[in-house]
């Protein structure tokens, strides 16, 4: 069966992209192969190996039909040929427009936040997501969609989304995520995002909550576009921010913490004339003064082809971490070093790279801790590319532990 699947997959890969009467067809074959070895008693021992071949088959008619199927063949500890991902969306174009479709392992829920997403990738097990989706829009820029899917462990997921990306004075989005388990267990998260465009500033607001639970709420706000200075040389932007949450709010993404009461700001500097940028972040937690944080950083690319970066983070005014790095880069050579501070430890590292040709690059990285045990680590990586296929070989060592990794990845066309 797997042999039949693999043969069919290879036949699909050999197919040429085509188009007929408004339809367009394409096949994108992607190969990814990896092997990992460790040195045991001076000889290499194969730890893991995998070959993954998938072919994205696309058929579409603009604004009407969108079809994707991704059959795949995978060989690691066992061999299997299976349908990895699929979707079929049909639309009735016009004003208003409407559409709908069915999907397998697709349409993974995601909701952006201020700097941390409200609903992040990996919240759902996308491999086991099966469902259907309806969408409509076109009136005054409004778009709405309703998605129902079943997840792993028989959970069901319903996502409602209404948004108006541009209303002349700003935009808003209303999202609702409901998960229901096999018993009475259910979970609900409503998200409102609002964004107003005022002449001098743009307030952004995200309100989250579970209406069924009183203290499960949260608010994050930022005021953007407050430019303290902007001329042909420099742009200085101040972003005040606030974050508050109820005691029983639970967000897996970490966009808000239960009981959070935080206020702070970001000061960002960009040179418009030179390759230079810097930032200063600070926030104060006024409910428990345990979560104050402070961060400062600077990046520049100098006239001597050097990338200089430095940053320092202070959490709770105790835990300090930071990094300073200087990397000299030219067309063929690369060399540099860095110093990293991590709470009670610090590491010093160096890097050298060489590119004998446009499509070949070798890089050596070494680091160690100047404290008692030195803790040496390093890796040598060689990358070569031919058209859209890339090969990689990496030897890494961490103390006495030596690993070898070989990989091949590319689009086969």
């Amino acid at each position: 069966m797997d042999l039949v699947g693999l043969s069919l997959l290879l036949a699909l890969i050999a197919a040429e992209p085509d188009s007929a009467e408004g339809w367009s067809f394409d096949a994108v074959p992607l190969l990814s192969a990896e092997a990992g070895l460790t040195m045991v008693g001076g000889s290499p021992h194969l730890d893991s190996s995998s070959v993954d071949l998938e072919c994205s088959l696309l058929a579409s008619m603009p604004k009407t039909v969108d079809f994707l199927a991704v059959p795949a063949f995978r060989r690691d500890s066992a061999s299997s040929a299976f349908l990895r991902r699929a979707r079929l969306d049909l639309s009735w174009p016009g004003t208003p427009w409407m559409g709908g479709g069915v999907f397998l392992a697709d349409h993974q829920p995601f909701s952006w936040g201020m700097s941390v997403p409200v609903v992040d990738w990996y919240r759902t097990e996308v491999d086991s997501l099966v469902g259907a989706r309806l969408a409509a829009g076109g009136l005054l820029g409004f778009k709405a969609s309703y998605l129902v899917a079943s997840e792993a462990e028989e959970d069901s997921l319903r996502v409602t989304n209404v948004r108006a990306p541009w209303l002349g004075f700003g935009s808003f989005a209303l999202e609702s995520y409901r998960t229901e388990g096999p018993g009475d267990a259910s979970d609900r998260l409503d998200v409102l995002k609002a964004w107003t465009d005022l002449p001098v500033a743009s307030p952004h607001l995200i309100v989250v909550g579970d209406p069924d639970r009183g203290s499960s709420w949260g608010v994050i706000g930022e005021i953007r576009s407050l430019r303290l200075r902007r001329n042909h040389r420099v742009s200085v932007e101040l972003v005040p921010l606030i974050a508050m949450a109820g005691d029983s709010l639970s967000l897996e993404s970490g966009a808000l913490r239960p009981g959070q009461r935080q206020a702070g700001g970001k000061l960002m500097v960009r040179s418009t004339e030179r390759l230079l940028s810097g930032w200063l972040y600070g926030s104060r937690e006024w409910r428990t003064d345990k979560a104050d944080s402070f961060s400062v950083g600077l990046s520049t690319i100098t006239e001597a082809s050097m990338l200089l970066e430095g940053s320092l983070d202070l959490a709770e005014w105790e835990d300090c971490s930071g990094k300073i790095s200087a990397i000299f880069q030219r067309r063929m050579q690369q060399a540099g070093g860095w110093v990293e501070i991590m709470e009670d430890d610090w590491r010093v590292g160096g890097r050298a790279g060489y590119s004998p040709r446009r499509d070949v690059h070798a890089r050596l990285e070494l680091s160690g801790s100047p404290s008692d045990d030195l803790d040496p680590r390093g890796r040598l990586t060689v990358i070569a590319s031919v058209r859209s296929i890339y090969g990689m070989m990496e030897v890494g060592w961490d103390g006495d532990d030596v690993r070898l990794r070989i990989g091949l990845k590319g689009v086969l066309r």
Binding site: E54, V116, W195, L308, R331, S355, H361, I383
Partner: protein, 119 residues
């Protein structure tokens, strides 16, 4: 006198080494300075991190592929709707780095990446 000459030379060298380079005229979109790389991709929330967060979890080496435009600069124009997007530059398919010219940082898994606010 010799000390003064040495100091002046050191100062000149330091100024040359540390003077930020002029920003090249770049079109709208992403730009990244990385001479010597075989390929650079810009991957982020809008393109599902090149396929990393999709079923299968494999980054497609063609997604978000940037074009070399000389002097070690890579560019890519992407039109994105209003919103906030985390992104990073994937160098040679093995190293994900933040945009050094963007002061807004975010986290994606264990990586420090950049944040783009499309207004």
């Amino acid at each position: 006198m010799r000390r003064l000459t040495f100091f002046a030379l050191l100062l000149m060298l330091g100024c040359t080494m540390l003077t930020p380079a002029e920003r090249p005229p770049s079109p709208e979109g992403f730009s990244f300075w990385c001479p010597g790389a075989c390929k650079v991709q810009v991957i982020g929330d809008w393109n599902h991190w090149g396929g990393l967060v999709d079923a299968g979890g494999t980054v497609n080496p063609e997604v978000g592929r940037m074009e070399p435009v000389g002097d070690g600069n890579w560019i890519l124009q992407v039109e994105l709707p209003r919103g906030r997007y985390r992104y990073g530059f994937l160098v040679d398919g093995v190293e994900l780095v933040a945009d050094p010219m963007n002061p807004e940082r975010a986290r994606f898994g264990d990586w420090v990446v950049s944040l783009l606010v499309v207004e």
